[in-house]
Structures are given as C-alpha cells and as structure tokens.
C-alpha cells in the first residue's frame, strides 16, 4: 500500500511536465530513517522509517497522522533540530546538515508545539528576537547591538499580521495560550524566512483564532510566496487550508496528495483504526471529516 502511494506522487509531479529541478522544491526528503536513541540495536523502534517526499516551493503542506506516527519528529528534522540517522534532506537543493544555524534561521522559521516561557519578556521583545539571524552587527554579534528601524518594522508587521500589535507591552508569561502561540508565530515571521514550519499551530486556539491563523497561513503563501509545512491533529483545518496533505502512519508515509485524495474514508479508517464519515464542506466543496455520533453508530 505504501509503495503504491509513492508511485502516485511521482506520477503526479511528472504529469505536470516539469523536470525535477532544485528550484521547484523547497525540500527534497529521501529515504529518511530516524529514532531517538541512536544507540539501540534492533530496528523496531524507528520513529520515521524510509520517509521520502518533496515539498514544492510556495505550497502549504499539512502533515497529519495518529499520535506517535512521527509528525513532530518529522517537522523537527525539517527544522534541523533533530538530526536523522539515514537518508538525506535537501533545502532548496543544499544538504540541510551543511547549513550553519544562522544561515538556516534566515531560510527556515520553526514554531514549536511548546511555547512555554518563564522569563518576563514583553511581546515586542520576544518578536524582535526573531531578527537575530538577520542582524548585521558583527563585532558584538549576539551581544550588545541595538535593533534598527528595519528590525522594528519587520517585527511590527509580523505582529500586525497575527493581530497582536496591541499586546506589545504585555509580558509573555501573563499571556493566554492563544496569545502566546500568536506571539511565537510573529517571532517566526520576523525572521523573514522562505519556509515556515508550524507544529500544531492551532492547538491552543479558540475557533475564531484558529480561523485567523489559517487565514494568515493562506495569506503568507499568496502574498509572500512562503512555503509552509504544518503539523496538525485537525483533519478539517488541514483539508480546508492545505494544498497537499501528507498522512503518516507509524513512521511511514501512508498517503500524500490533495485533500480529495487523502481525506477519504478508506484511507483514514485504515490509518486511524476507527470509523469516520467524510462528506463535503458546504462552502468550499472540500472533504470534511466527522466522527460518528452515538445515535448514528447505533443505527448503522
């Protein structure tokens, strides 16, 4: 099943009639294997096992899968936070492991799942820290330089994009989960990256803010041409807002394709091991997932 899915991906890209060139892909991931305890000998505990796919420049790719399927590990590998044991990850054609942290931070911004902060920094200070890799003060690099107007403007714009301009003076530990999440997304945007990696960007947000963040994601793709990879548990948000979806199952790629190709009952039931109902979103016509309710499961 997995093998046939990967054939499907390659046939899809060749159908577009575009050759495989470095410029077409933000990421090229080839037969990646990863596990946390590199020392252990038996092969049963691979968190990611023979994962391979490409992320096109300017697309929004959603990574979904059950708990423990390797979503967060995969996005941390893309962010170069975890280093893999086998395989290669190329970013715009270059080997990811060859990049220095500062160069990487100009290309990739990563929004982690855990945004805890015990130190009372203000929101504005936090967002400005996203400018670190873009700053040019070399003598006191990382030490004592001051942000210039361009840094402030980038931070202010990032804050306006996620609607937290009014929070500038507030202290991060005092924020609600949603406000902190948006602060960290603003910090990532202040990096002025080419690729944005988001780990559960809507996990702590109420409905309104979930939609806000999803709209921002589309806006960043359409206005700035950002490539966005996000991990989420929410199949519906992924279906509505992502161009393509990568479905992971126990560390392997179960399926990769458009929402229509991935969000369909057969695939989801096989991976999630439970019944799901898939119909169409009344506004967009895209697939919509519903879990069976009590009365319904009694009837069928």
């Amino acid at each position: 099943m997995i093998g046939s899915d990967r054939r499907q991906i390659s046939s899809e890209s060749s159908a577009d009639g575009v050759a495989h060139g470095a410029s077409r892909f933000a990421y090229e991931i080839e037969s990646v294997r990863f596990r946390y305890h590199a020392g252990s000998s038996d092969g049963a505990d691979w968190v990611l096992d023979d994962v391979g796919f490409q992320v096109k420049v300017g697309e929004v790719l959603g990574i979904v899968g059950p708990n423990g399927s390797g979503k967060t590990s995969l996005i941390k590998i893309l962010a170069s936070i975890l280093s893999l044991q086998q395989g290669t990850v190329r970013l715009f054609g270059d080997d990811l492991t060859a990049l220095m942290p500062q160069d990487m931070a100009r290309l990739i911004a990563h929004v982690p799942q855990d945004t805890h902060q015990s130190f009372p920094f203000t929101v504005a200070e936090t967002v400005l820290m996203g400018r670190f890799a873009q700053r040019r003060d070399t003598l006191w690099s990382g030490g004592f330089g001051w942000e210039d107007e361009a840094d402030i403007a980038a931070a202010a714009q990032a804050m306006a994009t996620v609607n937290i301009a009014h929070l500038a003076k507030r202290l991060v530990p005092d924020l609600s989960g949603g406000e902190r999440q948006r602060t960290v997304i603003a910090r990532a945007l202040a990096q002025s990256p080419m690729v944005l990696l988001l780990d559960e960007p809507t996990a702590f947000l109420d409905l309104q803010h979930q939609i806000d963040i999803c709209r921002v994601i589309r806006q960043l793709k359409e206005e700035r041409g950002l490539t966005i990879v996000l991990v989420s548990h929410d199949l519906n948000l992924v279906s509505q807002y992502c161009d393509r979806i990568l479905l992971l199952d126990r560390g392997r790629v179960a399926r990769l394709g458009s929402p229509d190709e991935v969000i369909e009952p057969g695939t989801l039931e096989a991976v999630y091991r439970c019944r799901v109902l898939v119909d169409r979103h009344p506004d967009t016509g895209l697939p919509r997932v519903t879990v069976p309710g009590r009365a319904l499961s009694g009837r069928t």
Binding site: P101, A105, S118, E125, A133, I152, C214
Partner: protein
C-alpha cells in the same frame, strides 16, 4: 496553473493591509519607546546611570558604619587624602583614616565586586538553565568551587603570594565540575525541570560539604578555624593586591558575559528554539558554563560561600528593568554589589563590636524569598 488554490481560499477572506515598512518602523519604534515595550539605548543609559549614582551613594553611606561610626566628611577627606602624596604618613596619624583606608574601603570594594559577580553568575545560570530560580549556591556550584579552594589550602597551594591565582583556578575547576555534574543529573529528555535541578543541587551540596568538612577535620586546627570562617562567607581581604587581581577576574568575566547578552535572551526560550533562531547553542552553552564557573571560582576563593545573592538580585532587577540581558546583566551587577555591601554593613554592625558572617545575612534574607517564589509562584517557574 490550475491548482486548487482558489478553491481553498477561505470564504470571508478580506485582505489584511500591510502599511509601508519604514513608516511602520519609525512610528512603532516611537510607540514602543514611549510605552517601554522594548529596551532602547536611551532607556539603558537612564537605568544604568541612575543605578551607578545610587550604588555610589550606598557605598559611601556604608563606609560610615562599623564598630565605630566615622562621619561622612572625615571618610571623604581620608579617601581624598589617600590619592595625594604622603597619604600613608598622614593616614598613620589618624585612626579614622587608617580604619577607612585599610579596613572599610577594601571591604566595601570587595563586597561590591563579590555581590556584583554573584548576581551576574546568577543571571548567566538562569539563562543557561532556563529557570529564573537558578543560583550558584543552591545548585552546588559554590560548594564545588569551595571544595577546590579547600583542597588548594589543604595542600598549602596559594598560601604564598607567588601562587595567588591558584586559589581562583582551583575554585574554577571545582565549580565547573559540580556545574557539569548538576547539569547531567538534572537533564532529562532535553529538559531541565526545576525539581530535578534543586534535587541534584541538594545532593551535590550535601556530598561536597561533607568532603569540605573532612578536609577541615584533618587540617591543623589553627588553619581549619580560618577555613571555616572563610567558608561561612566573609569579605575580609588581606591586601589591595588580591583585591585588584579579583577585580580583573570580575571585570573580564562580566564583560565577556555582556557580549553574550542577546544570545542569553534567546536561550531563555530553550535550546531547540535558540538553535532555530540562529544561535550555535552547543558552543554558547560551553562558553556560558566556562564563564559562570570562572566567576564563581574567583568569588568563592575570595569570599567563601555567600548564598542567594545570585537569585534574589536578578529577580528584583528583572521586575524593575525587564528581562533583556543587555540591561539585566549590568543592572544586576550594580544592584548585587549594592545589596552585598548593605548586607555586610548589617553583618558588621548588628552585634558590634563582634561581627556575624555576611553569608548568614544573605541566606536569611534570600532564603525566605526563594521559598516564597517556589511555593506561591510555582506556576511560573516549574
């Protein structure tokens, strides 16, 4: 290209207008400056300038107090006479001037440097360990340095002037080893929970203290009495030579730390985030470990074990000036200096003419604050 993009666009998407960059920058900078949302150079100057003035005033005030009170006017004339020619002759004829120049002034200066370095080490450890409660004394770094210094004393290294740097060096090695041990013990799955750090610190402290007590018990009783007095925290320094050497350590270490100020800001978000923001975390971590142990070693070799300054002072300073390490480091240095000079004045005068060790004063003021933060503000730190 017929992509499903248009189809995917949200129904009610109204474009969010982005105003031109530079205009936003200028307006926002002014607004943030006015509201204090970010640290600016002007604010830095104001904070550090006023702290300099206040700490100078505190030092002058504390110079007056001791077993005998010396008037500020006499104190100042003694100080100014010192810089003139023949100062020692004149000082020799005036008891107040002798006390001022050879007892109180070196003691206040030592107190200022020790307090300042302890506070700066606290700030560095807090950024490194990502917890605002980290303190070199509580985490066992000071005990490690004290064991190093005690060993040097046991073997008679550093008792002569020629071997002077040996004591801070032994302190540095001891501090570095115990800091490394604490880090290894407390770290689990890339995290440093405060409970594990405190537990590791408690156990290290108990073991290292036992070793130090063993050293004092096998030492010649006359020398062990001196060792015990030093261990309890004392700011008596035998000469201006030692004092200036210590000042070199402190100024050097603190300036190197200051050069890492913005990296320390970013490190508070955790290693993974710091790395993704462009910091070479492994290298920076080693540098910070090294500098924290170096300063702790120097401080402990001069003044023994003085606790809680490294936690209390940065915490108070953070509440006053914010968390940005560009201002937090120098402000903590000045405030820590002030705090210890004041604490030492209390230690010298409260039971005058006898003195109590200054470590007792800092532990009795800092300890309760630590407990308060741990018990009632737990949500912020755990």
């Amino acid at each position: 290209m017929a992509t499903p993009t248009s189809q995917l666009a949200p129904v009610d998407s109204s474009p969010i207008v982005s105003p031109p960059l530079t205009k936003v920058g200028r307006e926002q900078l002014q607004q943030w400056k006015n509201s204090g949302a970010i640290l600016t150079f002007q604010r830095w100057i104001a904070i550090i300038g006023s702290l300099l003035v206040v700490s100078l005033a505190v030092c002058l005030l504390c110079l007056q107090f001791g077993a005998t009170k010396i008037d500020l006017g006499i104190a100042l004339s003694a100080l100014s006479g010192w810089s003139g020619s023949g100062a020692l002759d004149r000082a020799g004829t005036d008891t107040s001037a002798v006390i001022m120049l050879h007892i109180r002034l070196p003691r206040v200066l030592t107190g200022f440097l020790v307090g300042g370095s302890l506070a700066v080490v606290g700030v560095a450890l807090q950024a490194l360990l990502r917890n605002p409660l980290a303190d070199p004394y509580v985490l066992g770094v000071s005990s490690g340095a004290a064991l190093g210094v005690s060993l040097a004393m046991l073997f008679g290294i550093g008792t002569t002037l020629a071997f002077l740097p040996a004591l801070p060096l032994f302190g540095f090695v001891g501090g570095l080893l115990s800091l490394g041990a604490m880090y290894r013990l407390a770290r689990s799955r890339g995290r440093l929970p405060i409970q594990s750090m405190l537990l590791a610190g408690v156990i290290l402290n108990a073991m290292l203290t036992a070793l130090i007590m063993f050293i004092t018990s096998i030492m010649d009783p006359n020398r062990s009495a001196g060792l015990i007095a030093w261990l309890m925290g004392s700011l008596m320094v035998s000469s201006y030579g030692i004092l200036s050497m210590f000042a070199l350590y402190v100024v050097g270490g603190a300036s190197l730390l200051l050069q890492k100020a913005q990296i320390m800001n970013i490190l508070t978000f955790g290693e993974e985030t710091a790395r993704s923001l462009g910091v070479e975390t492994e290298r920076v971590k080693k540098q910070l470990f090294f500098l924290a142990a170096l300063l702790t070693g120097a401080v402990v070799s001069v003044s023994g074990m003085i606790g809680f300054v490294g936690m209390v002072v940065p915490h108070a300073v953070r509440m006053l000036v914010g968390s940005d390490h560009r201002v937090l480091l120098p402000a903590s240095m000045l405030a820590g200096g002030m705090f210890l000079v004041a604490a030492d004045t209390i230690a010298r005068t409260i039971l005058a003419p006898s003195e109590i060790p200054v470590g007792i004063v800092t532990a009795l003021t800092g300890g309760p604050m630590f407990l308060y933060l741990l018990l009632w503000r737990k949500d912020q730190f755990v």
